[in-house]
Amino acid sequence: MAGASIEAIKLVKKFGQLTAVKGVSFKVMRGELYALLGPNGAGKTTTIKMLTTLLKPTSGEAYIEGYSVLRDTIKVRKIIGLIPQDLTADDEMSGWENVLIQAKLYGYKGREAEERARRSLEIVDLWEAAHRRVSTYSGGMRRRLEIAMSLVHDPQVLFLDEPTLGLDVQSRRAIWDLIREFKKNSVTIMLTTHYMEEAEALSDRVAIIDAGEIKAEGAPEDLKSKLGGDKVYIEALTLEDAKAVFSELSQRGFNVKLEDSTVIVKVPNAATSLPEMAGVLSERRVKSVNIVRPNLEEVFLELTGRRLREEAFDSFRFRVLSRKVR
C-alpha cells in the first residue's frame, strides 16, 4: 500500500509453549508516530524485534518501506534505526568514539564517518561532552547518546524501545523534544512505552497491546472519547452508604458501577454533573470524591480490566543500570 512505512500482517511469535505475540496487524504511514502502549511482557519488544529483523516471526509477515523483514533483511537494516531499551554505549570510551564506531559499522569511511558522527552528536546536543568518557555521563545524556548512535545513517524509520525508561522528568522532556524534531523531518517513528503520558504526548496513533494482542488502536483523543467522558470515584465510609449512593444515583439516570465501597460514575463532563450529584452525596457519609479525566491509563483499564503495571524487577539489569546511571 502506498505511503505505508511499516506494515505488519498477522505477526505471530512463539517461544516454546508461550505465544508472546498473537497475530498483530497494523500500518504506520510515512512520517507518522505510532506508539505501542502496554505493560511489561505485553509483547511490545518482541514485536519491535520482529520488525527490525532481530527475530524471525513464527508466522506472518512485515514490510518496512516495502522491504520484507523475512527476505530483505539487509535492506531493512540499512534504512532502520533501532534504539534499544538498554544503555549499550561502552563506558570505557568517549561518546565520540562510540558514535564513530557506529558510523563505520554502517560503512562510512574517514571524513564522512567523522562528519556523520559529529552531526549525530550535535542533534542530541552532546557535542560539547563528546570527548568525555561515557562513564561520566548522566542518565539523560546516556539516553541521548543511544539516540545519536542510531542516527549516523539517517534512518527513514526509527524504532525506540522504551526511550525514557527510568529517566527523570527533565531528561524525559528533552527526549520527547528530540523525538518531535525527528517527526518534523518526516521520519517514521515507532515507539514502545508503558508510560501512558508518553504515548499521549507524542503519538499520532496508539495501539494498546496486552498479552500479545492489540486491544485497540487509534488517535489518543479518539480512544479517550470512546470512554465517554469523565469518571467520578465516590468513596463512601461504609458499604451501606455506598449502596445507597449507588441506587440513588442510578435512579437519577447516572451510569454507575459499584466496586467495594466505591461508586464509579461515568459522566460526559464531571464539572457540570457534580452539582447534580451533590444533593445525594451530602446526605450520605462520603469519604472522598475523585474526578478522573479520560486518559490512556483509563482506556487500558477499560479494555483489559487491569492497570499498566510497573516494570518487573530484574536484579541484574538494575545493578548494571545503577552502576551506569548516576
Binding site: 537494516r77 540499512k78 534499544p84 538498554d86 561502552d90 570510551m93 564506531i101 557506529q102 554502517y106 568518557r133
Partner: protein, 282 residues
Amino acid sequence: MIRETFVLFVRETKRWAGRRPVLVVSLVTPLFWVLLFGKSFNIINMVNLENLELPQEYYAIAVKIVEVIRLRIFEIFGSQDYFTYMASGMLVVITLFQGTFSGASAIFDKRLGYMTRLMAAPIRRESIYLAKVAASVFRALLLSLILLMVAYIAGFKFKEGFTVLDLAAAVTVVVLISLTFTSIFMVLGFVADSPEALFSVANLVTLPLMFTSSALFPVDQMPEWLRLIASVNPLTYASDLVRFFLIGKTVSDPWLTLAPLAAGSLITLIVGMKISVRALEA
C-alpha cells in the same frame, strides 16, 4: 566483512585498553606460576655438591654422577634450569587463561543490549564473532609477549643462535593455540546466557588441561595413561613447539606437531563461527 570485523576489533581492543587494571590482573596469575613456582622448583640445585660432606674416595664418582644427572635433566627438560622450561610452557598456558574468559564479552554484550544494536546493523553476523576472537587472540599474544619479557629479565635462557625468525615462529604457534581456546570458549559465550555458566566451565578445565600437557612437566615422565591424555591435549603440541623454537628442545617432527595444531585451530574457528551465528539468530 573484513572492514566490519576490523571496526569491531578496534572497539573490543579500545574497551580493553580502557580498563588498564584488567591487564595487570590477567598477568598476575601467570607471573605467580612462572616466578614463584618456576623459580623455586630448582632441580639442578638438588644435585649440588658444594655443601655436601663426602668421604674423599666418593668425590670423583659423585662428580661423574652429577654429570650424568645433569645430562639427563637436559635431555628431559631441554634446559639446565626448570624455570626456562616452565616459563616457555606458560607462554602457551596464558592463552588458555585468556581464552577461557573470552566468551564473557559476548555474554555481556548480549545482556547489555549491544548485541541487539549490532544485530540491527547491516553487517554480517560472522564479523561479530570473528572480531571478538581476533581481539581475544591479540590480547593473549600481547600478554604472552609481556610474560616472555619478564621471564627474560628473570633469567630465561634462549637457545644458542636464537633469531627473530624463531620468535616469529613461536608467535605463530601462540596465535594458533590461542585461536583454538578462544574459539571454543567464545562459542560458550554466544550460547550461554549467564557469565556464571562460562566461569564455572573455565574453572573446571583450566588446571586439568594445564597438568595433562607438557606445559609444566615433560610428557616422557608421565605414566602411560597420562601420556595418552597429554598426546591429545593441544597444550602439549603448542608447548613443545614453542620450546623447540625458543630454547631448542628437540621435537621428533616439527611439521607433524604443527599440522594438527593448525588444523585444530582452523576447525574450532570455523565450527565455532557457525554455532555462534546460529545462536545469535535463534
